[in-house]
């Protein structure tokens, strides 16, 4: 009898611990999300809204700009996320080697970029790739380019610069996670592999990656989510241009709400499209992660 009251009491404490945080999320996240959903069922300009059912969702499929922005974001996603995570993994496994000299300094320098704000890093990279920026000056000095290259006005190179900026800003951040994960792996596993004659790359693929699977899953979901919601970099580097070649979905939502004649209902429908994409991709990633 005494024991059950104790369990009850402990259980009550458990709920007391989690409820404040849960309430905050419900009130400040789920409640506005529900009102955004109700908004997505309405059409009209400014405050002259009327109920229209799923019309906004049907419109999505005819909206060339929306479809292009989805395509852009997917391009960022399939190129940037794997490259960045692989680079972070490689860096983490190099930094994890206790014999490496100057480990502390290398580690600090590699982590450094995540201390800058997104707006700052965007502005710095934009100036690098400007017409008389450092990149053109260097490449022309080396004889690679004959005349300055207009990076940010080329549909493909502009995407490249955005991908580079995100990679610069976030690789170090992901390296921290991998490094932490690696430090949990027993050194003796590597020792044994080395005695068996496994090469460094073999160790990387058959020990590091499988043992880091949970961390890789975590970082993949975080990065995917971040890329799908990409906003600051695109807005500050290319503002979506040339044309709409670099436009992201979040920026399109912003334009629909604030730059153009406001269509909040349709903008809300577009944001639900991101939500669905994030949810589907996370689900796939978790499933794939579990299987391996």
């Amino acid at each position: 009898m005494a024991k059950t009251t104790l369990t009850k009491k402990i259980n009550l404490y458990g709920w007391l611990f989690v409820i404040p945080a849960a309430l905050f999320i419900f009130i400040l996240n789920f409640y506005p999300m529900v009102s955004a959903f109700l908004l997505s069922l309405q059409t009209g300009r400014g405050n002259n809204l009327k109920f229209a059912g799923l019309k906004n969702y049907a419109r999505l499929f005819q909206d060339e700009m929306f479809l292009t922005s989805v395509g852009n974001v997917i391009t960022y996603l399939v190129i940037q996320v794997p490259v960045m995570l692989l680079l972070a993994l490689v860096l983490a496994s190099i930094l994890n080697n206790p014999k490496l000299k100057g480990r502390g300094i290398f580690r600090t320098l590699i982590f450094l970029p995540c201390a800058t704000s997104l707006v700052s890093s965007a502005m710095i990279f934009k100036s690098f790739f400007s017409i008389d920026g450092i990149v053109n000056t260097t490449l022309m000095g080396l004889g690679v380019l004959q005349s300055p290259m207009s990076w940010l006005t080329h549909p493909i190179w502009a995407k490249f610069v955005i991908i580079l900026t995100i990679t610069w800003r976030w690789t170090g951040y992901n390296t921290v996670f991998y490094l932490a994960g690696l430090q949990n792996i027993d050194r003796s596993v590597y020792e044994a592999a080395r005695i068996d004659g496994a090469s460094a790359s073999r160790q990387f693929f058959s020990i590091t990656i499988p043992l880091l699977k949970p961390v890789i899953l975590l970082t993949t979901i975080m990065s995917t989510n971040g890329t799908l919601q990409l906003f600051d970099e695109v807005r500050n580097i290319t503002n979506g241009g040339p044309g709409i070649a670099t436009l992201s979905i979040s920026q399109y939502i912003y334009n629909l709400s604030f730059m153009y004649n406001p269509q909040f209902g349709y903008a809300a429908a577009v944001s639900y499209a991101i939500l669905v994409m994030v949810a589907v991709l996370s689900f796939i990633q978790i499933k794939v992660g579990d299987k391996r």
């Binding site: 405050n47 700009m65 790739f129 400007s130 940010l152 290319t238 604030f258 004649n261 349709y266």
Partner: protein, 433 residues
């Protein structure tokens, strides 16, 4: 247990005291001046230009109205637009200031979307003294909403020295067509190796100012998108492309690079709103080397003139203001009634008036050393009087973005007709519900 609670309480105290410290500081600041029964809050951007002008206006008004305090809040245009729409859509207009500065090309959109948010100035302020095209920009269905401020009249800003090195005269560029401009540009390029002009690749600045010079815009009388069969627009894209392909115009990726082409001497000229003179004059080593002439016109489009507008903005009084009459009186007596104000702000910031009486001030006829002694302000005000009127329309930003994209496609080798057809389709999509 008690100790733990102490820790929790202490933590909460720290958090709340920090939080309230913030709140207190703000209330203190708001109630700082008990002698000022009226405080007008103004949102505008650019410390060296608009904010400077507003603060000078406040000083002038304060002489006769010491009880009125002007509180200028620096708000970049994009942020201002976002805050405006967020507040109005949330029915929270009480958070908005008394006066805002608005871009000319956004006035129609904002007033049509939330007409009840702005005060109509009809009969309360004498707008006949302003350049007509600027008044029309802020007039919607017969109601005047904007007090014109920053002039957007365009001019061709030329490097006198480079042009002369090519064996040409500055006057060769006055009253010319775009075709002639391209010819002259080729000569300059050939003789000096310097490109004639530069523009930001992602922005359709040239097509826009060309449209206005012909008194045409991207919408017809009924407000429908007029892009696909718009002959002026086709011609504008064609000329822009020819300028780039012939090497007369170089494309730069952003505003920063564009200003750099002027300051570095990479180009021999620029065509833009007269406010660009501020950026040009920032490079002091080029003093005496510049000159201003009017804007090229179309050769084969009837009604096209050598005058246009780019940028520019106006003040608006918000309906939520607690003292709308004070706000209107303030604007009327300063931006719409004080020669002294314009005399102060012109030399310091290059902010050129659209209030015509100011142009009669001797300050406007002062020869400017930087422009080789040319009386540029007199000339620019003169241009402003001849700019054709256009209605920018409610969907201006949508259309502008679509043209930017069409231009980018044309530059990559796409056909003008196809690009404009896509633009028409996209704008119509955004206009539909």
């Amino acid at each position: 247990m008690k100790k733990t609670m102490c820790v929790v309480l202490a933590l909460l105290l720290v958090v709340s005291s920090l939080a309230f410290a913030g709140g207190k500081a703000e209330t203190a600041a708001a109630a700082a001046d008990p002698n000022a029964p009226v405080t007008l809050t103004v949102w505008c951007w650019d410390p060296t230009f608009n904010i400077f002008a507003m603060n000078e206006a406040a000083k002038i008004y304060a002489v006769d109205h010491p009880n009125v305090k002007i509180n200028v809040v620096e708000t970049p245009w994009n942020d201002l637009q976002q805050k405006l729409i967020t507040s109005l859509s949330a029915n929270a207009a009480s958070n908005l200031p008394d006066i805002i500065l608005m871009q000319d090309n956004a006035i129609q959109k904002n007033v049509m979307t939330y007409p009840e948010a702005y005060v109509a100035l009809n009969g309360k302020i004498d707008l006949t003294q302003f350049a007509q095209f600027k008044v029309d920009v802020g007039t919607i269905e017969g109601k005047h909403y904007g007090v014109p401020f920053d002039n957007g009249a365009t001019g061709t800003f030329l490097r006198r020295d480079i042009v002369e090195k090519a064996g040409l005269k500055v006057s060769d560029f006055n009253d010319i067509t775009w075709e002639r401009f391209i010819e002259l540009g080729k000569i300059v390029k050939q003789k000096t190796g310097i490109a004639m002009i530069s523009t930001v690749a992602n922005e359709p600045d040239f097509p826009m100012l060309m449209l206005q010079s012909a008194g045409t815009w991207m919408f017809d009388e009924a407000g429908k998108a007029y892009i696909k069969d718009n002959t002026v627009l086709k011609e504008a894209l064609r000329i822009t492309k020819e300028m780039v392909q012939s090497g007369v115009c170089i494309l730069v990726p952003d505003w920063n690079a564009y200003i750099a082409t002027l300051n570095n001497g990479t180009v021999a000229s620029t065509i833009n709103g007269c406010w660009i003179s501020g950026s040009i004059q920032a490079e002091k080593s080029q003093s005496g080397k510049w000159a201003v002439v009017n804007t090229p016109r179309f050769a084969n489009i009837a009604g096209s003139v050598n005058y246009s507008s780019q940028g520019g903005s106006g003040w608006m009084v918000m309906a939520n203001s607690k003292h709308p009459d004070v706000a209107i009186d303030f604007l009327a007596k300063t931006f719409g009634g004080s020669v002294a104000l314009y005399e102060t702000i012109l030399p310091a910031s290059g902010a050129i008036a659209t209030w015509l009486p100011a142009a009669k001030s001797p300050v406007y006829s002062t020869p400017i050393e930087f422009f080789g002694g040319q009386k540029i302000y007199e000339d620019l005000v003169n241009y402003a009087g001849k700019v054709p009127n256009v209605k920018y329309g409610v969907f201006n930003y949508e259309a502008r973005d679509a043209i930017a994209r069409a231009l980018s496609e044309v530059m990559q080798g796409g056909s003008i007709d196809a690009a404009l057809a896509t633009a028409q389709k996209n704008v119509e999509f955004l206009m539909s519900e």
